[in-house]
Amino acid sequence: MAEQLAIGSRRGLKPALPLLLPAYLWLTVAIFLPLSAMVFFSFMTDLPLAGKEWAFTLGNYATFFSQSLYLTLLLASLRLGLEVTLWCVVIGYPAAYVLAKVLKGRSREAIFLLVILPFWSNGLVRIFSWAMVLREGGILDTALNAVLPFKINIDLMYSYPAVIIGLVHSYVPYMVLTCYLTLQAIDDSLIEAGRSLGASRLQVLKRVIIPLSMPGLIAGAALIFVPVVGSFMEPRILGGRTGTFYGTVIEDQFVAVFNWPLGAALSFILLAVVLIILGLAAPVLRRAA
């Protein structure tokens, strides 16, 4: 291994350039340039469109701090991110465990396909399907009332739980996949060794399997938490009036109010907050892993 590394470094970066360049060129053009433009926008008083006057300002950032609404919404979004991530762990980890350690062969492939299926359907279609399920007189309501002897009213539509349900559904495959990968790499004999030493299945899970699958849990959590905090589609469609979050406010700035500079500033504040959270969590998580 050390020898391979030595060879790699002796050759230097040059031979690797043709392999690296396309990806980095693409990232530069597709992400870095627009992002830079957004940074630029966030310091402007107005969009330089249709000959409007504009000047540099810190006002967009100041708006965030001057109105408590934005902070409230940001906290609500962070809470939403946390809750969705937790639900994804609760739902996704056991599924990943069964996929990696219990099922074998054909049945594993079949169940795996079901997990990945949401990825293959359009996001909007997915969310509107949930709307049909969750609303009063919808699929869930009708089905439960058909089975249960008493009348119940289920109208989850336009509520916080509906937003959670929609987001968890969209993001749980990430948790299943990342956890599946780390769980699959854990040798079955480690589980057997634990049990031969007198540990119950639960103790083996707590002291061996979860610590060893921590990298997958962390990767999954990061993949889910970050986009959920900024999400706007699910909150808007499934949350209705209760679905106002930090992400929907940013979307409003771009789509409805047409205040791009404020939208950009709010986005970068979110980015900074998320980075700070991940930065603070990193040492703790690394120790856990």
Partner: protein, 355 residues
Amino acid sequence: MAGVQVANVSRSFGAHKALDDVSIDFADGGFYALLGPSGSGKTTLLRQIAGFDFPDAGRIAIGGESVERVPVEKRRIGMVFQNYALFPNMSVADNVAFGLSVRGEPKATIAVEVQRALDLVQLGKLGGRRPHQLSGGQRQRVALARAIVTKPRVLLLDEPLGALDKALRVDMQIELKRIQREIGITTIFVTHDQEEALTMSDRIGILRDGRLVQEGPPEEIYDRPQSEFAATFLGDANIFRGDAIGNGIKLPDGTTINAASGASVPAGAKASCAVRPERIQISAGTAKFDAGNANTLKGQVSKRIFAGNNSTYFVERDGQTLKVIVQNTGAERLAEGEPVVLSWSPDSTVLIAAN
């Protein structure tokens, strides 16, 4: 510590009979080898004793207590896995401490016991290391320390030395034997290495196709194999097949081979005789000499392999190749193609009923 009794245990996986009515008694404090080719059921049997898998039929008892439906974590066994199965997320000391800690022993007791176990396997100073920082032999010792620190009733080893290179393996064989003697624990180990089984164990059980072929002390199985399989799987053997004539057989060409021990086979029935290569004397010449009731055969050297302290001669005789091992005593060596006479005592010959 306790003995282990396996009585009439059967286990099938689908249509495959992994264990077929196996009964074997492991006495308290003994060192047992389960020997057999791959697929013979030896690992399945070990896993039944460990409790990873339950038998379809039969009884397993540890220390007189029926355990065939007791899950592994309640059986108080120690197990060493082929790949050691050390927890990579824990230090060496934490690995060894695992069994005591899940039991909820006080920290102070754990520290003392862990140190004692690590000292026993001569790794007293490496408690702070991580498993990946250890060599194969060291990992093996950690796995052993981890398995015995909980004072299990029986120690189970699944091809424990399989992953080590030859020199280290011999060291570990001696080491394992020393530790086993020191703590006096009933030990059962699975191996496909006949030499390992011979040198380490008090008793050997040979398995084939899910059945126990023969069980006994190494000397007994080596000197008095009860089947052609046992004779050829544990050590080398020349096998003669013919018709039984009391204490021996008559070969198709009329030659008789006398055996002083072995099965009693009714005259006329198919039977075999087995003789170890090192028991045969080889001498140049064609004359069949009279050596009392010794078995003698004429043949021709087809090949000689010199291995320093001994030579192996392959002797062609009536379409059969016989193997003869001769110690290097400085006597004249026989050339390939040379006609020879082989002779050996009936005491060195075992009569085996045809199977």
